[in-house]
Symmetry: C2
């Protein structure tokens, strides 16, 4: 359970490809998919999520495609994970306003606060890890 999802891996590959190939043109999902060997339909969805989270920008229509909204040094891992998966949560209860629906122990749980500290450290680590360091 402590693993990057395939979607996050693919997102990183895609960002890498965009970084090296969009100086003077746009790049399509098809091109990234074939070049990086990533399933087309899955990648297409990932690209949309990256667009929604303003990590990449898109131009629609023929000759359309994607480009990076900001340089890799300004994109961090937390942003990517949040964009293509969901917010980082070490347990089901570790977010604001969690209720008994999320965990029956809530309120009486002595683990919640220390695990929240741990989660914050992980998020901090991921915040400080930029794509520039990875790609």
């Amino acid at each position: 359970m402590l693993k990057l999802s395939k979607s996050v891996e693919y997102a990183i590959f895609a960002i890498k490809y965009l970084n090296y190939n969009t100086e003077d043109r746009l790049v399509s999902t098809k091109e990234i998919s074939e070049s990086m060997k990533i399933p087309y339909d899955l990648l297409a969805k990932i690209m949309q999520r990256l667009v929604k989270n303003d990590i990449v920008s898109s131009i629609q229509g023929t000759k359309g495609g994607y480009y990076l909204t900001k340089p890799p040094g300004q994109i961090n891992l937390t942003q990517i994970i949040s964009a293509v998966d969901s917010e980082i949560r070490l347990t089901d209860c570790l977010f604001d306003n969690a209720t008994e629906e999320d965990c029956s122990r809530i309120g009486a749980c002595s683990l919640r606060s220390p695990l929240n500290n741990l989660q914050n450290k992980i998020i901090k680590l991921f915040n400080s890890t930029t794509l520039e360091e990875i790609i």
Copy 2:
């Protein structure tokens, strides 16, 4: 995918219970299970893994049960995760001697090394997080 498994959560609860209840006696899976509201059969398997990894010790037979092998300050999160889940691996390829079976990109993958650095940081963080801080 960046979440503690239920097994790890249950293991932490169990260690906490053992820490507070085994000064002068042994504690059974049944007692922990009922007291901490953890499914008995699942907890039983978790206890066995903790024993195998020398985090807790067991005495068999009637009047048998478990106790902590070492104090919580000497147990860290990496040990627990390795014991009840498996080694921490951020991607399928991030271990020694990974082959193309594990990832077809291996050898040519530019992400492997930087992601390995990240994985080491996470492991280091988990190594430095003892159960004393959590329970």
